[in-house]
Every structure is written in C-alpha cells, then in structure tokens.
Amino acid sequence: MTTSTVPQAVRPMMRRRRRQKAAVGWLYAAPMTLIVVGLFVLPLLLVLQMSASNWPLFGGNQGVNFPQNFVRAVSSPRFVPAIVFTVQYTVIATVLLLLLGLGLALLVQESSRWKGFLRTAILVPSALGLASASLLFYVLYSPLVGPFAGLTNSLGIDLLGTPVSALWSTVFLIVWRFSGFYMLLMLVGLQGVPEELYEAARTDGATSWQIFRGVTLPLLRPTLALTSVLAITGSLLAFDQFYILTKGGPDNSTLTVVQLIYNSAFQGQNDLGVAGALSVIVLIALVIINAIQLKAFRAPDEE
C-alpha cells in the first residue's frame, strides 16, 4: 500500500531531480561537446562544402562547381598511381605488423627479467614520433654517413634511390617504429585467453602448434580485428614517413593518397576544392573499408 502512494508523492520531485542531474551532466560534457562540434563536426561539413566549391587557397569560396572538383581529382595522372601505391604499401605493412606483433608477443609473453628487458627494448621506438623516427632513418639510410653506407655502396644499392628500395626502406622504418605497439595490443589479447583452456588442450595431448591454431587464434579474433583496422587505417593515411624519407620520390613512385591531398592544397596547385574532393573520396573509402573489416571479423561469431 505505502509503496504505491510514496512514488506518487515523490514523482514530481524525482523528475525535477533527474532533470537537474541531466543539466549538470550536460555541464560536465560541455567542454568536450564544444571541441567535438567546433573542431570535428564543423570541419567535416566544411570539407563537404569545399569539395563541391571552387575554392582556391588564397581566394576563398568562389561558388558552387559540384562535379568538377571530383572529375579533376579523379582524372589527375597522379590519382591512380597514388592509390595503387598506397594500397600496396598498406598490404605489406599490415601483414608484417600483424605477424611480427603476434610473433613478438608470443616470444615475450611469460614474465621473466630477460623477457621484461626484451619487451622494453621492442617498445622504446614507439615512444618516438613518426616524424622523429623518419628523420632518424633518413640519416641511417644515407649513402654518405649512414652506418651501412660502406656495405650498400659496395653492393650498389641506394636505400632510398629506387622505387622498390624506397618502399622497403620505409616499410622497415614502420615495422621498427610500430612492432612494439602491435606486440602490446597482441599481449592484451593473449591475456584474455583463459589459462584453463591451455591446460585442457595440453592434457588432451595437443601439440603447441595445435594449441595455437585451435585455442589461441580463434580467441584472438577480436584483437586481430582491432589491430588490422588500426594497421590498415594508419597505413592508408601514411604521410609523415614518405614526406620526410622520400618526398614521394623517386619520380613520384612513393606518392601516397594523403600526400596527393597535401600537394593539391598547398604545393603548386593551391586548390582546396580538389583537395576537399580527394579528402571526401578517402573518407568514404575508409568508412567502407572499416565497415567491411568489422563485419568480416564479426560474422563467424554469430553463426
């Protein structure tokens, strides 16, 4: 009886309290809302407008010219080569980072003093910025002062001089810089595999390869999904490493899509409209790729 009368009397008060609490919540969320709206949502809308406008870097908005920017972006002679190169680089970098990340994680998984040292050694490069690491390897790869200059010169290799060597030199830099990061993510995933499962598999007489295939890999699926999304997204948006190491060269052979955007906006062309159109294309491509990936990794769980 009392339980039914009390809420009736209290309800308006509770409603007011709830509304008050919601207002306080909004107040605490206000600073981040300001940043998200002002520095993320607005620019996102602006880039859409830009991609449909005639917008020179120093001239401002000169009015709508809807499909032209996209036509010009797509018909540029650099467009297809940049996409092909970026995809090629992404595949190589992603495969290597995931394999090495998982391999290194398995190697340093148990805790001992030596493995702790190894973990730290592998992780230290990830404290460096990508730009710093690229500058470091720029010197390291130099045919004049690099520590391997004698060796590469006598073999007739220029580490940044040919399209193929420039690609693989950059891949090595990326692997060096990011392996520790992916190792750490894999370690987090491995931690989530219950010890009992390993024990059960061992008592059933499974070999360590069978345990890896049958227990570790399937349970690592969410981690593999996350790491591959991160690696693919990061590599598709590659900029710093190529800007610093190769400047897109030799002969624009290592020009990535983001470099193409940067060049259309600020180098020579100074056309924000075309840069905006390229940005929108990349944005749409990335959303589609991420969606496909997340679906591909999720599907088998639901069967």
Partner: protein
C-alpha cells in the same frame, strides 16, 4: 653431508646445461633487442662524433647542437614552441576528458549516445581530410597560424582515446562511494575533486602521457596550420633544417635534432612505462 655436497654441483651443472641448451634462444632474442635499440644508440653517439660536412669535424663535441642553435630562430625557440603547444594540449585534454569521462560514467542526459558516437567517429575520419577545412576555419576565428590553434586540433584528436579511458576509469569506481559522499553533503563538483579524482589518477597519468607523446611528435598539423617559421614546432623545424644549406643536408645537425626530439619522449616513456602498458591493459583498446 656428503650427499648434500655431491648434489649441489650436479644441480649447478644441470642449470648450466639448461642455459646452454637455450643459447640459440638468447642469441636470437638479443639480436632482436639490438635491431630495436641500435638505430637510437647510433644516432645519439654520432650526434657527438666527428663527421665531415658537419659542424663537428674534429674530435667529439657539441658542434652539431650549436648548429641547431644557429639555425634560423634557434633550437631553443622551437623547443619552447613545442613545449607551449604540447603543454596546452595536455592540460586541455586532461581537463576536458576528466569532465567528459565523469559526465559519461555518472550522468544520463539527452544526446549522450550521439555525443559519444560523434567522439568515437573522430577515429574513423582521416586526419588529413579534417586539416584542410580546419585550416580555413581556424583562420576565420583568427586562430590560424597559431600554436593555440594547433593545440586545440591536437586535443580534438586525443578525445576518442582519452574520453574512453576516463569513462572506464570512472565506471570502475563503485557508485556506493558517490552515495556515501552525497550523504556527507558533497555536491557533484566536490565529489569529483575530493573523492573521485584520487581514484582516477592512474587513468589521468595515462591520458596525459599519450597526449604528450602525440602532441610533441605531431608533424602534419603544424605543417599545415602554421605558416610562420618562427612558430614552427621541433619536428617541423628539424625536418625543414635538412634542406636549408644550399640543398646539402647537414646530417650531423639532423642527428642532433632527432636526439633533442626523442630524448624527452624516451625518458618519459621509461619513467611511465608501467602507465603506458596499463593504458592498454585497462581495456582502452579492447574490441
């Protein structure tokens, strides 16, 4: 006595044999450690070593660092620029994610899910696609070509990670603590600062560390948003310095620049390594 005396050496030799058997393992893993450490150690050493074509041609010394100080506005100016940009970004990230995480973990308000979704969507949008409209927008509100503008953009980029971290940090505190504090007469503000803040401190350290590393090292945002070379941040200045002297690269000065850039990060990483690792373990990156 004899039994003990005879057993001990055998155990020692067994242990030694086990270690010997694992020798290939130690050699291989040591080689891995060398691959990861060598480039940094080599750069540190050669930045002080004599090299032709640099300011340090004879004997060991700090000639390359003096080149950095003589380059345009001097490395000290660029260091201070980086410090200002990074400092603003870290402080803003900490304040905004402390309040934001608190709001998400402890309050329900209309638009909460949309706001959270929009914040996570920052991760999905290519950074470069945002910088070009940001260049135009910041110019409009006269924050173009300013370190504050760059710091604001970097703060926005840190939000998905830091809000997620702080929300989780607040959610892991039992709500009974809030209730007890409210009965003691705390309002939401005093509750946050007197009771909850100490509990989320480890999360704050992780968020601060990641914001520092990201802001200190960012290259693309200053490259696009700053036009003025006196405002350049360290990564930008060191990258620009390479091609300045008649197209001849001063490798020695570049090495010294990399050392100045990397040293604070590596030091901070080694000091706070536990927090760096915990940042991942605490579930910030769990699917």
């Amino acid at each position: 006595m004899t039994a003990i005396a005879s057993r001990a050496p055998r155990e020692v030799s067994l242990a030694r044999a086990r270690h010997l058997k694992r020798l290939p393992y130690y050699v291989a893993t040591a080689a891995i450690a060398v691959v990861f450490l060598y480039p940094m150690v080599w750069t540190l050493i050669s930045s002080f070593s004599p090299q032709p074509g640099t300011n340090q041609t004879a004997g060991w010394g700090i000639g390359n660092y003096l080149t950095l100080q003589r380059y345009q506005d001097g490395i000290v100016q660029y260091f201070l620029n980086s410090l200002l940009e990074t400092g603003i970004c870290v402080v803003l990230t900490l304040v905004v994610s402390l309040f934001g995480g608190y709001a998400f973990a402890r309050f329900s308000f209309p638009g909460k899910r949309i706001l959270f979704g929009a914040t996570l969507a920052i991760l999905m949008v290519p950074y470069a696609s945002l910088l070009i409209p940001l260049y135009v927008l910041l110019n409009r509100v006269s924050l173009g070509n300013s370190l504050i503008g760059v710091a604001l953009v970097l703060t926005m980029l840190q939000l998905p990670f830091s809000i997620f971290m702080m929300r989780n940090a607040f959610e892991s505190i039992p709500p009974e603590l809030d209730e007890a504090a409210e009965i003691d007469g705390c309002n939401s503000f005093t509750l946050l600062f007197r009771v909850l803040l100490p509990a989320v401190k480890p999360g704050m350290i992780t968020v601060g560390l990641f914001a520092f590393l990201a802001a200190w090292n960012d290259f693309l945002a200053p490259l696009i948003l700053l036009n003025d070379s006196t405002k350049a941040t360290l990564p930008l200045a060191v990258a620009n310095l390479r091609g300045q002297v008649q197209g001849v690269v001063d490798y020695g000065a570049t090495e010294a620049g990399v050392v100045v850039l990397a040293l604070p990060c590596v030091a901070l990483f080694l000091i706070l390594q536990r927090h760096y690792v915990r940042g991942f373990l605490s579930g910030a990156f769990k699917g």
